[in-house]
């Protein structure tokens, strides 16, 4: 009797849930466009997302809600797991997502090599995989990211324009992340860092490859930067500019500069974290290259739904009007070939980053990345940037 009762209750709950999902209103344009993408969907689509960690603010604040709402607006179901910085945990997570019935997998890989067994399982099960923001070296995947080479290029262009000659410090991220070791430095070189080092205009104070930061930890970057400042002072050299790869390391650099009362040489970062945008407004960080993660989440949601409907990777096309035109792929809305550092060719959507300096901070407020109050906290009204006036 009890079992029958329970079954009935479950069934009612399931129907109610189903009704709710199908009735979710496509309020925003993005949602309605996504809904039209999935309009032809026969069976319901389950999108399984494996996040590597929520240690960095952006995943939970922007990527996940947009991905989720785009999938749900298109009639799909969103399931996810957080591997909490462990590549082993991530393998288990992917197993769980597959057994929960995921039709498409979105993977934010903790480690681009350790994830390969999970990818093989997905392939064996015939499940298409989207490599979200971090590359996985395999021809079968769809790579969805911001152009990280362009991010590095935007960081270095801003700093090199501000400080064309002098002593530079390079702070890189986790040595196991290809963004840290390959793409961002490539962008720095494309912006002219390499040539200026060769010509002698720029001297690298902490070695040609800079100082790496385990797991992009702020405290680690802070301790490293303090040692670098001490060394520069001991050698009688002045630090003129600092290229930091991302915001969590840039935050550590600012803390070190503050502790040493060194002043604030032009410093780069990326991610558009609120604490860092506040530092840009305060004049402690010169540029923060902002990847509008809302748009990346939307793009991933739309691509996942299309893959669910059986669209081949080569024929994928992002719906027009889904993405902000300044962020949408420079190469157009159709999937493009992307050659990985190892020479593998994969299909990809590569979105464009937005460099933010004190002059262009309004963009961050407009993208709802930060509130005006948080952005302008502690800013002296006399020297406030335009966005704080």
């Amino acid at each position: 009797m009890l079992i029958r009762k329970l079954a009935a209750i479950t069934a009612v709950a399931a129907i109610a849930l189903a009704a709710c999902t199908s009735q979710s209103p496509g309020a925003s344009t993005a949602a309605s466009v996504a809904a039209s993408v999935a309009a032809s969907a026969g069976a319901p689509c389950t999108v399984g997302v494996s996040w590597n960690n929520f240690q960095q603010p952006r995943w939970a604040a922007h990527d996940e809600p947009n991905l989720k709402s785009t999938v749900e607006a298109g009639g799909g179901k969103y399931i996810s797991a957080d591997a909490n910085l462990s590549s082993e945990q991530q393998l288990t997570d992917v197993d769980t997502l597959i057994s929960k019935g995921a039709n498409v997998l979105v993977l934010l890989a903790q480690d681009n090599k350790a994830i390969l067994p999970a990818l093989k399982k997905a392939k064996d099960a015939g499940i298409p995989v989207i490599a979200y923001d971090r590359l996985i070296e395999d021809p079968s995947i769809l790579y969805l990211t911001f152009d990280n080479v362009l991010v590095g290029k935007a960081e270095a262009t801003a700093i090199l324009t501000k400080v064309p000659k002098g002593n530079y410090v390079l702070i890189t991220g986790d040595p196991g992340d290809p963004n840290a070791s390959t793409f961002l430095p490539q962008g720095w070189d494309q912006a002219g860092l390499k040539d200026k080092v060769a010509s002698g205009d720029i001297v690298l104070l902490n070695g040609p490859k800079g100082t790496a930061t385990d797991a992009w930890k702020t405290e680690k970057a802070q301790a490293n930067m303090e040692a670098i400042i001490d060394k520069a002072v001991a050698d009688g050299k002045k630090i003129d500019a600092i290229l930091a790869e991302n915001d969590s390391t840039a935050l550590g650099v600012v803390a070190a500069l503050t502790a040493k009362s060194y002043g604030f040489p032009p410093l780069s970062g990326q991610d558009g974290d609120p604490a860092n945008l506040n530092n840009v407004a305060l004049g402690k960080q010169y540029v923060d290259v902002f990847k509008n993660a809302n748009e990346l989440g939307k793009a991933a949601g739309a691509a996942a739904l299309a893959l669910c409907n059986g669209t081949a990777m080569a024929d994928l096309k992002l719906p027009a009007g889904l993405l902000d035109p300044t962020v949408a792929p420079a190469a157009g809305l159709s999937a493009q070939d992307f050659t990985t550092p190892n020479g593998t060719v994969v299909k990809s959507f590569i979105l464009q980053p937005t460099p933010l300096t004190a002059d262009t901070l309004q963009t961050a407020i407009d993208a709802k990345q930060i509130s005006k109050a948080d952005l302008c906290k502690g800013v002296d009204p006399a020297s406030a940037p335009a966005a704080c006036k």
């Binding site: 490293n224 009362s261 060194y262 609120p274 506040n278």
Partner: protein, 440 residues
């Protein structure tokens, strides 16, 4: 520096040393050989880096940076000694530091002004924040300690659970965002040029610290004579006094040789209308607050471990749990207290970390458990229980941090630093157990 366990009454007659080797002379001063060896090792590490860097390493500024970087781990290590001595472990310290650091940051940027109605101008906000943080640390410690001591779940499991779940709480507190913008007064806890007591105060502190050293030596000698314990030769007493005072005053002079950065000094001069002399304005920073906090914690913890009933109970339980129980010691209450103490120390370390960052991020404190346990173990704490000293653990923290800072200074990347730290840990403990075996 002698341990309680070592202070067993022997015959009242002072036996003359059989031969005057360096070892026996050292024995007469009753200096802890293990501590002495670690000081030598620390000096050797610093000197090696100084040679490798061409003489630029051993400068006051660098040494102060190194010391400040070591304070957080060193403070927690003093508590970890008590925990390991009583045959337990605490893996949750890094996460506790994270949750308390995030609490400080949120208190000052959000909860105090928006919930508690304490605006930026509210008096003593930093004291209130610190008090609440220490309270939170103690509460977490008490909960974990209760489960370990009274429910009987192994400490490894309880604190491993703490490591995971408390780190998760940090995420929920700020929804994953970094929080920054602490009160100026709170930031002083983190050190830096302004977070230091200045040149004059450092000299005064040095001289004041010298007096108790001499007083302790004299009263100790009197006490020993009264109860018929062997006394040190007069030359050894004098030598200890001179070395102790010399070390304190030398450190004060060294800290005072650390000057304000020129830019800051010039700005200060301009604001206060002080003329800048030809050679530039020299303002001594003196001792930073975090180091003073560490010295205070070390003294209080050493006093608790060696002079208070609580400390004796901890060592007694660690030496032989059954005997301690049968002797009528309330062992469960003692264990619970070690974890409360640990929580308080984590909250102090969190204050330093948050003040140094001027805020908090999700990863503050992550990995501390390993550095803290390494510091305690390098400092001579034994996992067999009953053995370990507070100053040893502090020195252990300095040994580990001087390696990390020195390698960083030389431009060695963090994977290289980790390799060296791991090898040193094994070498230190291996050397120690070799010595113990030979000694017994």
């Amino acid at each position: 520096m002698t341990n309680v366990a070592d202070a067993t009454p022997v015959s009242s007659e002072v036996k003359p040393p059989a031969r005057t080797s360096f070892r026996s002379l050292l024995a007469q001063t009753e200096v802890d050989l293990r501590l002495f060896g670690m000081l030598v090792a620390l000096a050797a590490i610093l000197l090696t880096f100084n040679v490798l860097s061409g003489g630029t390493f051993f400068r006051p500024t660098n040494m102060v940076t190194l010391a400040v970087q070591a304070t957080g781990v060193a403070i927690i290590a003093t508590g970890m000694v008590m925990v390991i001595v009583s045959r337990n472990i605490d893996l949750s310290v890094g996460s506790v530091v994270g949750v308390v650091a995030m609490t400080y940051a949120l208190l000052m940027t959000d909860w105090m002004p928006n919930v508690l109605g304490m605006g930026v101008d509210f008096p003593f906000r930093w004291v209130i924040a610190l008090g609440l943080g220490v309270g939170l640390g103690a509460a977490i410690g008490a909960l974990q300690g209760f489960i370990i001591a009274y429910v009987g779940v192994p400490s490894f499991i309880v604190t491993l659970g703490g490591l995971l779940s408390i780190r998760g709480v940090v995420w929920y507190l700020s929804s994953g965002a970094a929080v920054s913008g602490l009160d100026d007064s709170f930031q002083l806890i983190g050190g830096g040029a302004q977070g230091s007591i200045g040149g004059t105060a450092t000299w005064i502190l040095g001289i004041v610290a010298c007096l108790p050293i001499i007083a302790l030596l004299i009263s100790g000698r009197r006490q020993r004579r009264r109860y018929g314990f062997p006394v040190r030769p007069v030359w050894a007493e004098a030598l200890l006094g001179v070395i102790g005072c010399g070390a304190v005053l030398g450190l004060a002079a060294f800290a005072n040789a650390n000057l304000w950065p020129q830019g800051l000094a010039n700005r200060y001069a301009a604001e206060h209308g002080i003329p800048i002399p030809a050679g530039g304005l020299h303002i001594s920073t003196g001792l930073p607050y975090p180091i003073i906090l560490l010295v205070g914690v070390t003294l209080v913890m050493t006093w608790m471990a060696t002079r208070r009933r609580f400390g004796r109970y901890v060592y007694a339980y660690g030496g032989n749990p059954d005997a301690a129980e049968l002797a009528g010691i309330n062992t469960r209450w003692t264990i619970l207290k070690t974890y409360v103490l640990m929580g308080v120390l984590c909250a102090l370390a969190a204050a330093i970390a948050a003040a140094r960052l001027n805020g908090s991020t999700l990863d503050v404190g992550s990995g501390y458990e390993l550095y803290v346990i390494a510091a305690a173990v390098v400092g001579g704490t034994s996992f067999a229980g009953g053995i370990g000293t507070i100053p040893g653990a502090v020195l252990g923290a300095f040994v580990m941090q001087s390696l990390a800072y020195g390698l960083s200074f030389m431009g060695v990347n963090s994977p290289g630093q980790n390799v060296v730290a791991g090898i040193v840990l094994i070498l230190a403990v291996g050397f120690d157990s070799f010595n113990r075996r030979r000694g017994s």
